[in-house]
Amino acid sequence: MTLADVALAVLWLAVVAYLLFGGADFGAGTWDLLAGRGERGRPVRELIEHIIGPVWEANHVWLIFAIVMAWTAFPLAFASAAATLIIPLTLVAVGIIFRGSAFVFRKSVPPGRLEELFGVLFAASSVLTPFFLGTVAGALASGQVPYGRLGDVVGSWVNPVSLFSGLMAVLVCAYLAAVYLTGDARRTGEDTLAEYFRTRALVSGVVTGVVAVTGLIVIAQFADQLFIGLVGVALPFAVASAAAGLASLVLLALRRYGAVRLTAAAAVALVLVAWAAAQYPHLLQANVTVQQAAATDAVLRAVLISLAVGALLLVPSLVWLYSLFQREGRRQRADV
């Protein structure tokens, strides 16, 4: 295993963490959008606000982290992807601005029209951001981004594989959020809300599963390289993902809310692992390897050592953050 492989693994860890944590925050925004207007949706919105309030910013940092890792470890691959996928990435950036700012703005204004406006902005951008990020992932996975030169700025991400991948991203985020929120509502003693999200977790889980399987046909049709990888070397991961997904549905049906968090997260994380396994050792295109695209060893070594030292601070801090807010029993009025 070379330094480039380690760097790629760290980058992928950040991407997985972003999907599992940050993605779930976006998914919560999707449920916020679907909660119904005004007073009807208020309990759902209050729970969402209460749960993601303290953690969304920390969860968001995984994305910044992944971007920085990408440009540091694989500079030209990053630059190629950014240049070619400028349209969806700009839309992601705008979505991130609106999601984050509208979320705090909504909390800071009294109930009324303005609160609703910020709410819609928050929720709509929570759906659009993962969608466009998904199209980016689809473009990267299906070899639409040429290495070292500008590709087709529209066709690279407006194609069946990218659109499927965008849809999957939205569904996966919503599914994760529903699973997490079911447990959160249970913990804070709001059984009605727990049932509400349990139903949504079951439905979105089934829909996500069906779409994922259907998507394999799209991938087989339009991205044969990726498909060969997925049914070849990555097959164990894909199968494991499907198994974890099925197990999650069973656990949800049995109301095992603690265990289902783990299996649902595993099902989602394994999709990303399967993608990575299907492509490895290639990056962006079949003629570019991870090794070729990697930065010089001196840079990789310095960055990885710094991150290892940083992790000593980071991991306990993260653990404290999550345990502090996951430990609470009955919901207290949010302070900010």
Partner: protein, 449 residues
């Protein structure tokens, strides 16, 4: 606007995003310190007014930090979207400080979440301590990001062959020659902006006759931060200017509008360029030579030492520099006024003229900040990595790049209006929980308040 080229549009987009973010980023460095100071004094003196100030500021901090976090994220996107030529080659050289900054920002976000939401859930002292990492990580973030910027001014620590970096020493790149003065200058600027900007809100209230202890203390604390930072900044700025003279002579020539190398160069303030000459400038003979090297007859290199295509836009850099310096001295004067009143009478200045000026001090600090940043970045043009890569060669070659800039303008307009509206609202709304309840919260969780 149809004539706007894609390169210029990309630069404008970067300038808009960065110029916007830099204000929030400064508040992200200095404002948490103010909140913690207020909370600390509240705990120490058992005075509820301080606690009330801390709690209200914490609400504003939540908004400022969130908007700062998202506007900063966009920048990391734009580095690639707009400047793939920079990132594709040199991304790895500046990767290390950004990676470390990532850690620092992570710590900041984590403890901010804890600090803002665990109020009443943690014992008071633990809560106060949970806020400290925000300050440390905030300053660290600023430091590491600025080291990367400093590298663009004085790039070292790499070797390029055929457009690829073949050898890099990332630590050397990070600790580049412009790093010391640029980072310190930026961090002190952040404290100045935070102090004067927060104080300006309360100066308005004091002028309107709300001279109660709450407003006096809030003003006094915030203004003190600005007043301490201002004289420091004047000294740091002087050191920085000498370092620029030494490391980036062309930038210095643009800052001082020194068109031709001169022995015993004059200091020229203001002025306009006409027919290749600077006219109507306030001129101090030998001033520049004296300031730069301590010798009134030393030679200072002028802009003619590089071909015209490699010169930065002189007037923009020169005027930005003069405005920054001018405002810095105005803020220094105001800080002295404040200090004299505090020392003589142990009270805030009485004159309403002081408060009128203090209202302007907030925007003035922001303008000085933006001008300083224009000096640094525009003064580096036409290079993006000085001496190695031209900005024009780094830009994304995609057609229609300008559309992104046009599209983002309304986003930033909306964001500005909404943020100001929400912050003003927060300043006016009474807090939902009284301080007495807040103290009771602490007792409920076992705090000794």
């Amino acid at each position: 606007m149809t004539a706007l080229g894609d390169l210029l549009a990309a630069r404008m987009q970067m300038a808009m995003s960065l110029g916007w973010h830099i204000v929030l980023a400064c508040l992200g460095v200095g404002f948490p310190a103010l909140v913690l100071l207020a909370e600390w004094r509240g705990l120490r003196t058992r005075d509820e007014t301080w606690t009330l100030i801390a709690r209200r500021w914490a609400k504003a901090l939540a908004v400022v930090f969130a908007v700062g976090a998202v506007s900063g994220t966009i920048l990391s996107f734009e580095m690639g979207l707009l400047w793939p030529g920079l990132m594709g080659t040199y991304g790895e050289v500046i990767g290390l400080p950004f990676a470390i900054e990532g850690i620092a920002f992570f710590i900041e976000a984590i403890f901010l979440g804890i600090y803002l939401y665990a109020w009443g859930r943690l014992p008071p002292r633990a809560h106060l301590l949970a806020g400290l990492p925000i300050i440390v990580a905030g300053i660290a973030s600023a430091f590491f990001v600025v080291t990367a910027n400093a590298w663009m001014q004085t790039p070292v620590g790499f070797r390029v062959e055929d457009g690829r970096v073949v050898a890099a020493s990332p630590w050397r790149a990070m600790f580049n020659p412009a790093m010391p003065h640029e980072t310190v200058h930026m961090i002190v600027a952040a404290l100045m902006v935070s102090g004067f900007l927060v104080a300006c809100v309360y100066a308005v209230a004091l002028l309107r006759g709300r001279r109660d202890v709450y407003h006096r203390r809030a003003f006094g604390l915030a203004f003190t931060l600005g007043a301490i930072a201002a004289p420091v900044q004047v000294v740091v700025g002087d050191v920085a200017a000498r370092a620029v003279a030494d490391l980036e002579p062309i930038k210095l020539a643009a800052m001082e509008a020194l068109l031709r190398s001169e022995q015993g160069a004059p200091l020229q303030v203001g002025g306009v360029l006409s027919d290749g000459e600077l006219r109507y400038a306030l001129t101090i003979p030998h001033g520049l030579s004296l300031l730069v090297s301590g010798d009134p007859n030393s030679t200072v290199p002028g802009l003619e030492t590089v071909p015209p295509v490699l010169r930065p836009p002189v007037m923009m850099v020169h005027w930005s520099f003069d405005i920054m310096v001018g405002l810095a001295f105005v803020l220094l004067g105001l800080s002295l006024w404040f200090a004299v009143a505090a020392w003589r009478r142990r009270a805030l200045p009485a004159s309403s003229w002081f408060y009128r000026l203090a209202v302007l001090a907030g925007p003035a600090a922001v303008v000085a900040l933006e001008c300083g940043w224009v000096v640094t970045e525009v003064g580096r043009q036409p290079w993006i990595v000085y001496g190695y890569l031209l900005t024009a060669h780094a830009v994304n070659p995609v057609a229609g790049l300008r559309l992104g800039f046009y599209g983002l303008i309304p986003v930033y307009v909306f964001l500005t209006i909404a943020a100001i509206y929400v912050l003003r609202r927060l300043a006016r709304t009474p807090l939902p929980t009284g301080v007495a309840e807040h103290v009771a919260d602490y007792r409920a969780v076992g705090g000794r308040s």
